[in-house]
């Protein structure tokens, strides 16, 4: 079963990091990603550009509106994700708890809908 691990953290922290700290942080992610590739959990994962680069679209009554910024302003911002394959939620949690941002921000674990296995009754 697939789970999406959404990584929320305070972007501002990035701007206050020294290059050495940022390097060490990146290294932790590389190590983690290698790890979950080895265990077969890894499906995909990306880091996102800061929310300042976000564009939000809405179409209402046939009119497309385009606004600057993320869908919702929050204290912690969506900064990246991993898509993982896990046996069950406990297995997914064991993976997600090792994402470095768990110690500074938060990780949301969401099961992916499997349309092939939807119950028919």
């Amino acid at each position: 079963m697939k789970y999406l691990c959404l990584i929320y953290d305070n972007e501002a922290v990035w701007t206050t990091m020294s290059p050495a700290e940022a390097e060490a942080d990146m290294q932790q992610y590389f190590t983690f990603t290698d790890d979950i590739r080895r265990t077969g959990h890894y499906v995909a994962g990306e880091a996102l550009q800061p929310v300042a680069t976000a564009t939000t679209l809405r179409e209402r009554h046939g009119q497309l509106s385009m606004t600057d910024g993320p869908f919702a302003e929050t204290k912690e911002q969506l900064g990246g994700f991993y898509l993982i394959e896990a046996r069950d939620l406990n297995d997914a949690v064991q993976v997600a708890r090792r994402i470095p941002a768990v110690r500074t921000g938060s990780i949301e674990v969401r099961p992916i809908v499997d349309f092939g296995a939807m119950p028919q009754d």
Binding site: R87, D88, N90, V109, P111, M118
Partner: protein, 421 residues
Amino acid sequence: MHAPATLRDQIDAIYRAESRRVLATLIRLLRDFERAEDAMQEAFVAAVEAWASTGVPANPRSWLVSTGRFKAIDAARRRSAFDAATARITDALYAAHEPIPDDDEAIADDRLRLIFLCCHPALPLDAQVALTLREVCGLTTEAIAVAFLGTPSTIAQRIVRAKQKIRQARIPYELPEFGALHARLDAILRVIYLVFNEGYRASAGDTLVRRDLTAEAIRLCRLVAALLPDPEVHGLLGLMLLHDARRDTRSSAEGELVLLEDQDRSRWHRAQIAEGAALVQRALRGGRVGAYAVQGAIAAVHAEAPTADATDWREIVGLYDVLLRLDPSPVVALNRAVAVAMRDGPAAGLALITPMLTSPALATYALAHSAAGELTRRLGDVASARAHYERALALTTQGAEQRFLAARLAALRHSGATPDA
């Protein structure tokens, strides 16, 4: 066909004793909550008919489990005529060659799995409570609704949503890995203590039903203690037994609150106090000393004092020091300050409590203001005592507490300023 009354009674007794165990095992075998519940009900229906001619089998539990399993396979077969997805489930059920457990250890593991599932921290706390009472304790949604002042439909919805999440997020039916055991156990104990407190706080109104809740919490904790003997489980069980041993004296015949120091100690349940105190002792020796065991130890000092005056306040302050390190919360600090007042006099306690009254955590906490009222009264400062009690009265919403504070205020008007220390 009508079963003779005696068989019906037998089956009723078996239902009460075994239905939760049968359900726990069926959930593992069928990997689905709803199907397991349906299968269990069908197995009991089948038992009424079958046992009328064959008599009750030697091991009714395994008869019910295997019958329930076959009923589920039947149901899946009927569905599989319509779609391929359930055909796969039927195959899986046939392929599942886990033996139906006969030994008590395997059954115990199934019960524990069910408790860990119902108290999974990925579920909202109120759903954990409802699910545990429904599935582990076998309470009806109506009884849960009465106990938690909700409506049956709210409770039912909470349970349905929780089961939906269990299925959709695939929360597994398994014992946690060793590394996660203590954290997961803490979640179970929190649910049990919440159930207990919900019953314990009620001093009027639906007393009977809520008394059921304290009994249910103790029963559940005994079950967990038997399955997983851990110091904190013993600590919580001891704590609840010690509190509950005073149940008959905590309110007067008129339903009024009676303070610990004024309770009739001859009516405390001594055997229960002895059992609770022994469990707390065992927990304290167990290595992982936790907050429940220390709270239990405090309750034991109170329960074992022959009179209120003979209470060992030095011991209690010492225990609060330990508790404050384990659980540095404002309420624990307040209780410690009250114990200090009992040990060193009201002035010493008041010196600790006064700054708490303006702290964000306790400024609106009624018990902090009533404690300050009590201490200033003992110091003979009637004006301050009145102000503190009035503030407390304004903050409390509980009927018995309101009447208690009003009585305190009335007594102040009559007595005038006479320090009683």
